[in-house]
Structures are given as structure tokens and as C-alpha cells.
Amino acid sequence: MSGRAGSDRVVIEIPARTEFVSFVRVVLTGAAEIEPGMDSERIEDLRVAVSEATTNAVEAHLNAGCEQRVRVEGSLADDEVVVAVRDEGPGFDPEDLPELPPPESPERLLYESGLGIPLMRVLADESEIRSGAGGTDVRLVVYSSGRRK
């Protein structure tokens, strides 16, 4: 794990272990709380979105037997937080995710997973997933509440 890499940037490298996901949440939301423009609701959105992206990255490494570290970078500004999560897993097609049935459908209860990426996309104001055989890059931007208005 490395520490702060610049005046407005936090870089974390974690082992591919699920126990480290909460650590990433704590560090990035703690850093975002320093920014006066980020209110508590936006911090909570960031917390969940970061959790989803980091968990996916860790699981990609675990499933592939990859021993590389997962890299998470947060860039802080007055009106937004940008998070970049990089994994070295086998990649996936982000446009080829199963579509969940509506909640009222009996089939919906068959889907106990698969909510992470849709949730991440709803919570972040901007989201981008670039994935290929060499790994996956996720970029999330969470605006301050003032910028959203």
C-alpha cells in the first residue's frame, strides 16, 4: 500500500483479498470528507460505488488466481471525486450483463447477485468501464451536491 501521491490524489494498492475492500472505502470516503463540497449523501453514494468497483476488481483477481495488487486511485476536487479502479483480471464485456427481471417478477428472486454494476452506475454521476484480456479499468465520478443542482 502506498500513501498519498499528490496534493489532490490518493493512491491505494491492496492485496486481492476481500477483507481490504472496507479499507478502501474508509480511505476514499475519508479523503472525500475533507472536500467541503461533498455532503453526507454524496459521500454515501461514493462509499457504495467504490465498494462495488473494488469488490469486482478483487474478485476478478481471486477468480483468475492473479496475485497482483488491485490499484485504486481517488482524485479530489471541490466539486467532484474521481475514482479509478484497475484490475489485472481476465476482463468481461460490460455491455453483456444479464438484465434483471423487475422486482415484482417471481424470477427476480433467482438473482442474488448481478446488482453491483447497475448500482454503481446509478450512484455515480459518470461511469466508464473499459475491459479486455489485460484487465479492467473502472472510472467513476461523483459530483458534489452543489454541482448536481
Binding site: 476481500t18 457504495v48 469488490t55 478483487v58 427476480r108 442474488e112 448500482l119 450512484l123
Partner: protein, 121 residues
């Protein structure tokens, strides 16, 4: 952080009081507790999430799994979820359309009075 789960009876309900974080690390403990409770006949289940500090899609998935398991046995699930930050995640996943999010365990009444909508209703 592991989720802490305490099971108790509140007839006719079985209550699982959950604390901590329901994420990739904590959610499996909830799944195990639900399986144990339902296997022991506790098909009228209250998940009390008052002590939950954080929930993401893994925690949501564990709750969906609980709903599935109780319905497979003609049971019922009630959800106590007073914290706005936790409620919001359920709402974003549209699960408030099939689960009533109670503010306190005292507002959970008798089984069969609208704690969860039947699928397809």
C-alpha cells in the same frame, strides 16, 4: 468487517438482528443465519438491520436470498431498516416495491399484513 448476527424469538416471528457491514465479507454470515433459521422452522422472519452501518449489492443479495427461502416455505419476511443510508440502497434497487421497509421492529405487526408483496401481484 464481519457482520454480527443475533437470533431471537418474537412469536410468531424469528428475529435476526444484524450489525456491522453487509458487504462481500459480511453478507455470507447473514446467508448462513437465514439458512439456519429457516431450516429450524423460522419461516416468518424479521431481518432487523438497525445495526447495519453499510450495505452494498452483496448485502442486498443476501436479503433477496432470505426472501426467496422463506417464500419457498410459504413464509414471510419483514425488514426493519431505519437508517436512510441503508434504505436508499434498497430503494435504488427497487426492492422497496416488494418489501416494506419498517422504521422499527415495533411497527412490524402480525404476519400477513403487507410486509412483502407477493411476486407477480
Amino acid at each position: 468487517m464481519q457482520a454480527a448476527i443475533e437470533s431471537r424469538r418474537r412469536p410468531p416471528w424469528t428475529v435476526l438482528a444484524v450489525g456491522g457491514e453487509l458487504d462481500v465479507v459480511g453478507a455470507p454470515a447473514l446467508r448462513q443465519a437465514v439458512v439456519a433459521a429457516v431450516s429450524a422452522g423460522g419461516t416468518r422472519l424479521i431481518l432487523d438491520l438497525t445495526g447495519v452501518d453499510f450495505i452494498d449489492s452483496f448485502g442486498i443479495g443476501a436479503v433477496v436470498g432470505a426472501l426467496k427461502r422463506v417464500r419457498q416455505r410459504d413464509g414471510e419476511l419483514a425488514l426493519v431498516c431505519p437508517a436512510p443510508r441503508v434504505r436508499r440502497v434498497f430503494e435504488l434497487c427497487d426492492l422497496d416495491r416488494i418489501l416494506t421497509l419498517h422504521n422499527s421492529i415495533d411497527s412490524v405487526g402480525a404476519p400477513g399484513v403487507g410486509h412483502s408483496a407477493e411476486p407477480g401481484s
